[in-house]
Symmetry: C2
Subunit: 196 residues, 2 copies
Amino acid sequence: MAAPSNREFSEAEAELMQATYSALREHGYVDLTIKRIADEYGKSTAAVHYYYDTKEELLAAFLDYLLEEFVASIRAVETTAPETRLSLLLDELLVDPQPNQALSVALLEMRAQAPYNEPFRERFQQNDEYTRFMLKSVISHGIDEGAFEAVDADHVARSLMTIVDGARTRSVVHGDPSALAAGRRTASEYVDATLL
Amino acid sequence: MAAPSNREFSEAEAELMQATYSALREHGYVDLTIKRIADEYGKSTAAVHYYYDTKEELLAAFLDYLLEEFVASIRAVETTAPETRLSLLLDELLVDPQPNQALSVALLEMRAQAPYNEPFRERFQQNDEYTRFMLKSVISHGIDEGAFEAVDADHVARSLMTIVDGARTRSVVHGDPSALAAGRRTASEYVDATLL
DNA sequence: GTGGACGTACTAACCGGTCAGTCAAAAGAC
DNA sequence: GTCTTTTGACTGACCGGTTAGTACGTCCAC
């Protein structure tokens, strides 16, 4: 399971990614236009097209940019004990992104576009597989060490992803970040009942 | 907990709702236009505006139309035994909507618009509360009858909703309806571990 | 002959994307 | 070390196309 490709971004491109980030938070995905990105960028729309021919291309690059950060954050979770490692991983997947609630909203919008947009679908798919693999690894490792019950690690990882995705969706749709904390509790219960 | 208001639809309005339904399935929410609805309706765009002044108004009415059907489907679940009642309820919430996968996709798009669109948010919120109340009722009832453990019915209902929403989101985003079946299994495990 | 149910034709606002041309800095020529 | 040329990074104007919504005329049932 390879982590998503580490793409190179020039300084100007990184600035554009930040501008896209801001524009997304302010206007959401549906109302995201090249003009609004250009405004955040502080340049003309043609300047945006200078770096990326099409809007789709730019947004695909933006997802690469964003998902890289995410991968880095969950890769940083390292502990020896499988129980605490799994717990920290779930914490990371279900943290309240306080100031970035708006980005979570936009990200759900983009996820909902996956069926119509192959570059999006590819990237979300790859990110999902990577995260699921991380969970499955921790579980398998815990089983080998005798810390966990001998369960179907793949299924348990998938269940945890379902709980994570559910909590995130609910947090966005109902505008209630506490859905994340509730989801964290549900995940804990599921882990306790299944693995311990 | 009142069920969502039963709104009246004239024959022409019902036809328009069906046209909206078809247009949504064909083009998704983002690419849904009055023109496309009018095409499905078989009339001009002015004919659509004759019944609904704005697009927002029409779509709010459409959600009423759609969520009414959904409420009817889960209200139809009636059994005496709490275990089978809960099981049937979860089945209803996690069925594979075979030919209507496209509608599930569009519905997630609309749910993702809730933060920007109050009429949407209101309706999804109300629908969620209603469904959660149905789950909580079955659980509370089961506890009273001694069929379930004495748990926090509200929290368990919320957890099940999280699993349901997660399974639906995953089914759409990854274009994989089997995520629903997997979610159904996770829900069963959660019920078994928590209530029995 | 009046009122509801449209169709035709339109507008104003945007949209993504293109184009020709500008300008400073880098690269090369001598 | 200067002059010339090229290049990278842009701007402003503009294009064709699309959108929600409107104005107004018309047809038809009663």
